[in-house]
């Protein structure tokens, strides 16, 4: 599908919201805005009408780089056979406490 960006269209921004102090910012969606200030203000109106956030990050969508789902198998392969990285791999006697 052709993606023709008309000159009049405002740039696209990705919005990330921290829902409360102590938590990570999480992707909420995207929106159009002329600049970063307007993107934050629009994000407040579009994504936090019910106090869903205490902090907003915006980044222009063109700066997001993403891994290729088609290469997922090879990309994550190194982690596949290393079950000894998980605590449940180790058998300890029941009488051992606090471990």
């Amino acid at each position: 599908m052709e993606k023709e960006m008309k000159k009049s269209e405002w740039p696209l921004w990705e919005v990330f919201i921290r829902s409360k102090a102590g938590l990570d910012h999480k992707h909420a969606g995207s929106l159009h805005a002329a600049d970063e200030q307007m993107a934050i203000e629009n994000a407040r109106d579009v994504y936090t009408r019910r106090m869903e956030g205490v902090s907003i990050w915006v980044v222009e969508s063109k700066y997001i780089h993403a891994s290729d789902p088609g290469e997922a198998d090879s990309l994550y392969d190194p982690a596949n056979d290393k079950i000894y990285r998980h605590p449940t791999f180790y058998n300890l006697p029941d009488e051992v406490k606090y471990m």
Binding site: M1, K3, E4, M5, K6, S8, E9, W10, L12, G29, S30, L31, H32, A34, D35, M38, D45, V46, R49, R50, A66, D68, P69, G70
Partner: protein, 313 residues
């Protein structure tokens, strides 16, 4: 191994694994989603017009604040959905263009006029009620950005329906004139609300494929029946009469039987001949065209600020 892209896609769908924007997908799946999501987004945007008509005439400050918040939510829902559609590779300008040229449709229900304040109650109760019934299953639709947008939409919609029911309840417990207004709004919005679920399954060209792709999770007729069953019970609480003389509980089916829907009217409104089609589209186009200078000015301002910052650095 050696699985084709199509087989891989089909397997993901069968296993109920969500499809994301960068995953390979068949062209028709993409097209169907763009059609459905954009139609939904356009409905939210056009849907602001019939209710916007009553904001300045709301009977109290409370009702006015509520209606404003509801209409603002609808703008928000339109925006969530447009951005979900854009992840499929279509631009916002193209989407607007399809709406403004009449190439894309929006829900026909918004081509009916809002004649009295009671219509705000009937719309919230019936139109939002039908929309919620349609939308809740879409929270598990196969395309990730659409499903996530729908989770937000559904969370917010429930107040829309409740505030509408509250208006109906207040009117139906009020004076004889108020009760009459409520019944009149019910009479006018009932049948168009049933039409919101779309044509009968036998005549719905997209249903089978959409169910296969898990874009749709229930058929039009299944959802319509559920709506009739639930809403008929709610009407009893209001003490209002469902405007259908054929409506009758069917013990054997465990559902209400209901009268036949005037599908000629439905198709006529879809084709552009409803009471308000022209008015709605004109309002939308005028808003877009008259807003052009604002969009241009904002862009010019942003560029000027950027240039200034670059110079200062």
């Amino acid at each position: 191994m050696g699985q084709s892209l199509q087989e891989h896609f089909d397997a993901m769908i069968d296993k109920d694994i969500t499809i994301e924007p960068k995953d390979w997908m068949p062209d028709d799946y993409r097209k169907t989603l763009i059609r459905q999501i954009s139609q939904h987004a356009h409905s939210e945007i056009i849907g602001m017009l019939p209710e916007g008509n009553w904001i300045t005439r709301a009977p109290s400050l409370r009702r006015k604040s509520v209606l404003l918040a509801k209409v603002q939510d609808e703008a928000g829902h339109g925006l969530y959905l447009y951005s979900a559609a854009e992840t499929l590779g279509i631009s916002r300008d193209e989407l607007y263009d399809q709406l403004h040229t009449g190439k894309a449709k929006y829900s026909s229900i918004f081509n009916y006029p809002t004649l009295t304040w009671a219509d705000m109650g009937a719309i919230g109760w019936l139109v939002d009620g039908a929309a919620i019934m349609n939308q809740v299953p879409l929270c598990r639709t196969s395309y990730g950005p659409y499903a996530r947008a729908m989770v937000r939409v559904c969370k917010e919609e429930s107040f829309h329906q409740r505030q509408g029911f509250e208006i109906m309840l207040t009117l139906s417990k009020g004076t004889a004139v108020q009760k009459k207004l409520a019944q009149d709004a019910f009479n006018r919005w009932w049948w168009p609300s049933l039409m919101m679920f779309g044509p009968p399954d036998a005549e719905s060209p997209h249903t089978e494929q959409s169910v296969r792709w898990r874009i749709k999770r229930f058929t039009n007729d299944e959802l319509r029946q559920k709506f009739v069953d639930v809403t008929t019970e709610q009407a009893k609480v209001l003490g209002l009469e469902v405007p259908d003389k054929d409506l009758k509980w069917n013990e054997e089916r465990g559902h209400y039987d209901f009268g036949s829907i005037n599908w000629d009217e439905f198709w006529n409104v879809v084709k552009g001949n409803g009471p308000c089609n022209k008015q709605r589209l004109d309002a939308r186009k005028t808003a877009w065209e008259k807003g052009q200078w604002v969009r241009d000015a904002a862009m010019a301002h942003a560029e000027k600020r950027k240039a200034k910052a670059a110079k200062a650095a």
